[in-house]
């Protein structure tokens, strides 16, 4: 962003002002995530930087809260993590299967009522979560699925499918349909064509939609708060109760683990996006 030599002073000032604003915004976006790291290694019980930490005294740091997270007797994090992963994995599978199949239909040019159907399929993403929570709770209570894993998985499938539908239709929009016709002309049946030709090409889109669905389920708290019983507690529920009641540093240890997890997901999503663009021949 070097300025040309002839730039007038006032534009120079404006330019540096602009850079300063951008720097501030980037710090604003990313800094909150980094506060958690050092504090989770705090040796004391308070959620502030102690004098020892400011002086980088090694005694002020400890793994105490990580030990508490794993071995703590009263801590429900183990059960919560198990539940969260089970629910998220099944919800992702369901969302990916239903969403991908629907996206295939939606991107066909023969699809009738495309607009309204698309709007319906996307609606769980747009409708405020609190309303989705109330509606889904009414259904699950009637179906006898409240406070069961099945109920929560179904609820997360509802919330996760829009992301899969969006990413897969986007991938299919650049899809060359002559390859499927070529496969058909060579005698392949539609299922075989899908598995051998279409799916490998749209796989990056499917997986990145799946990642969205996974994160949605793994991070979802509003609907789960309505549905979950004591047995179905998840990481977000535990964090929610923790943040409301006793803000203990153990939560920060959990939060650090979650940030590491989201970094991993971000990296895989980014790699998939690039691969998808390469496969579809988009060069930027």
């Amino acid at each position: 962003m070097a300025l040309p030599n002839y730039t007038e002073t006032r534009y120079r000032i404006w330019h540096y002002f602009y850079i300063a604003i951008c720097t501030f915004v980037f710090i604003f976006l990313i800094a909150p995530l980094f506060v958690i790291f050092p504090l989770s290694f705090n040796a004391e019980e308070f959620l502030v930087f102690s004098e020892g930490m400011k002086n980088l005294d090694p005694d002020a740091f400890s793994l105490r809260w990580y030990k508490d997270m794993v071995y703590g007797t009263k801590n429900p994090w183990g059960l919560a993590a198990k539940n969260s992963f089970i629910i998220a994995i099944f919800a992702t599978l369901g969302s990916v299967i239903l969403g991908t199949v629907a996206a295939l239909g939606l991107s066909s040019r023969h699809m009738p009522f495309k607009g309204i159907i698309m709007a319906t399929l996307i609606s769980p993403m747009i409708v405020p979560l609190i309303i989705s929570g109330v509606a889904i709770f009414f259904f699950m209570a009637k179906a006898g699925l409240a406070a069961t894993h099945t109920g929560i998985v179904l609820a997360h499938i509802i919330l996760g499918t829009p992301f899969v539908v969006i990413t897969v239709t986007a991938t299919l929009s650049g899809f060359d349909h002559s390859v499927t016709r070529a496969a058909a002309s060579l005698g392949s049946n539609p299922v075989n064509t899908f598995m051998k030709v279409t799916l490998p090409l749209i796989l990056p889109g499917v997986i990145s939609g799946g990642l969205f669905a996974f994160v949605t389920s793994f991070d979802e708290v509003v609907v789960v708060l309505f549905l979950a019983g004591l047995e179905n507690t998840t990481i977000p529920i535990q964090m929610w109760t923790g943040l409301r009641e006793q803000l203990s540093p153990t939560i920060l240890a959990v939060a650090t683990c979650l940030i590491v997890l989201s970094t991993l997901i971000l990296i895989s999503a980014e790699l998939l996006r690039r691969r998808s663009e390469r496969l579809r021949g988009i060069n930027r």
Binding site: Y18, V101, S108, M118, I158, L243, L252, A269
Partner: protein, 420 residues
């Protein structure tokens, strides 16, 4: 025109037009069948329950079923003077059935909501019925009127008549701090009890300002990301995407730590001398906390659509504007800015829609003055268990969101939403 002679036939002798239509229909059905499983699933588990919220919010059938004979005989009553002997008699017979089923308490509760004072007089009537004090061979009207003086008051009978319809708009009026008074007129509740209107206004206010803040902060960095060379912008993009992928609760937790009185932000203010150490401002459990945390959490939803629009604007357009004599400001304002309007629309609507239904962050950092309408819905769902009231408020919120969603669809198109 003789269409039959010019008709083109396929090899098996069927007219091409029909054959084509058949193939098209087959394709349509095929496409629809692919969408059907998800559509059906959503309709059953999601769209219908939202409809059920509506019936629940206006439902008032309970009392209609409790007093069937009374309401039947009240049909001919003009509602000006005390009703006839017939109405009293059918009320008593309905009431006796309720006493047998032990449901008279529910009736008293419901009627008391309509008009204060029903609790006492229903209890009195119950005692009389229980002791078989009411002689059905004599005038029932006279005997009921003797039970309590309020049974002689026509206003109480008018209140009963008002509960006759199986549907009610009371919950919606309550959400607007209004109610139907004795003359069936919409009235406002007394000033000190108007809590919901404040919450609605605050919800819209918070959503609006969060959108404005997101726009003011998101526009410059989206521009920077779109104009920087790839290798730098990819690195900076992580700053936008990492928060986007990080758990909402983690981000809220970090703001709680940053904004607390002994927190990093206050430490920094003290360090640069903005505030004194013993006079640290309260930044959490009020609107400031809600604004700051929500802006940071929703900012990526503003930056991503803006970025994807700005990326398509060729830099040569700005150069052309400048070469034609525009100063950089003019070139920006007249050339660049108008081209980014679709991105601005998409980002602002997305952020506004998400902000208006926010629940978790305001509940944690908002405190009492930061709670929004979603918190109120959750409160009635979980604490007071007034599900019909929660449904009514939810649907009012949904109505607002759907209008915005429709606008969004018109301006941007839902299939143009870009993620990451």
């Amino acid at each position: 025109m003789s269409s039959e002679t010019k008709q083109i036939l396929t090899t098996d002798g069927i007219p091409l037009e029909i054959s084509l239509k058949k193939a098209e229909r087959k394709n349509k059905i095929k496409a629809f069948l692919l969408v059907a499983p998800l559509l059906l699933f959503l309709i059953i588990t999601y769209i219908f329950p939202i409809g059920e919220m509506f019936t629940r919010s206006i439902d008032d059938k309970m009392i209609t079923n409790m007093l069937p004979k009374t309401f039947k005989s009240m049909e001919t009553w003009d509602g000006k003077e005390l009703p006839s002997e017939e109405v009293f008699a059918s009320f008593l017979s309905d009431f006796k059935i309720l006493v047998e089923k032990k449901e008279h308490g529910k009736l008293a509760q419901r009627l008391n909501k309509e008009k204060n004072g029903f609790n006492t007089i229903t209890k009195k009537l119950f005692r009389q019925v229980k002791r078989n004090k009411i002689d059905e061979t004599q005038s029932i009207k006279e005997q009921i009127m003797k039970v309590h003086k309020r049974w002689r008051n026509v206003e109480y009978w008018q209140a009963i008549k008002r509960t006759a319809p199986p549907y009610t708009s009371a919950k919606y009026l309550k959400a607007m701090d209004m109610y139907l008074n004795e003359d069936n007129k919409i009235t406002q509740v007394s000033e000190d009890r108007r809590i919901h209107r404040i919450l609605w206004l605050r919800t819209v206010e918070v959503a609006f300002f969060v959108t404005v803040f997101c726009f003011l902060m998101g526009y410059p960095i989206a521009h920077l990301l779109a104009t920087l060379p790839m290798k730098y912008s990819n690195l900076l993009m992580i700053c936008v995407l990492l928060p986007f992928w990080t758990s909402l609760l983690v981000r809220t937790a970090s703001w709680m730590i940053l904004l607390q009185q002994q927190g990093v932000v206050n430490d920094f203010f003290v360090l640069i001398g903005l505030v004194s150490d013993d006079n640290r401002p309260e930044m959490m459990y009020n609107k400031v906390g809600t604004y700051v945390a929500m802006t940071q959490i929703l900012l990526p939803f503003m930056v991503l659509p803006l970025y994807s629009v700005m990326k398509t604007i060729s830099p040569s357009l700005m150069r052309a504007g400048k070469s034609l004599g525009g100063t950089p400001f003019v070139a920006f304002w007249k050339v660049y800015f108008p081209l980014t309007i679709p991105g601005i629309g998409a980002g602002c609507l997305l952020v506004f829609i998400l902000a208006i239904g926010y629940y978790i962050t305001p509940a944690l950092v908002g405190g009492a003055s930061g709670t929004l309408i979603s918190n109120q819905i959750a409160y009635h769902m979980k604490t007071t268990l007034d599900w019909s009231f929660a449904s009514a408020m939810g649907l009012m919120l949904l109505g607002g969101v759907l209008v915005i969603y429709w606008l969004y669809n018109k301006l941007v198109g839902v299939d143009n939403i870009k993620l990451g």
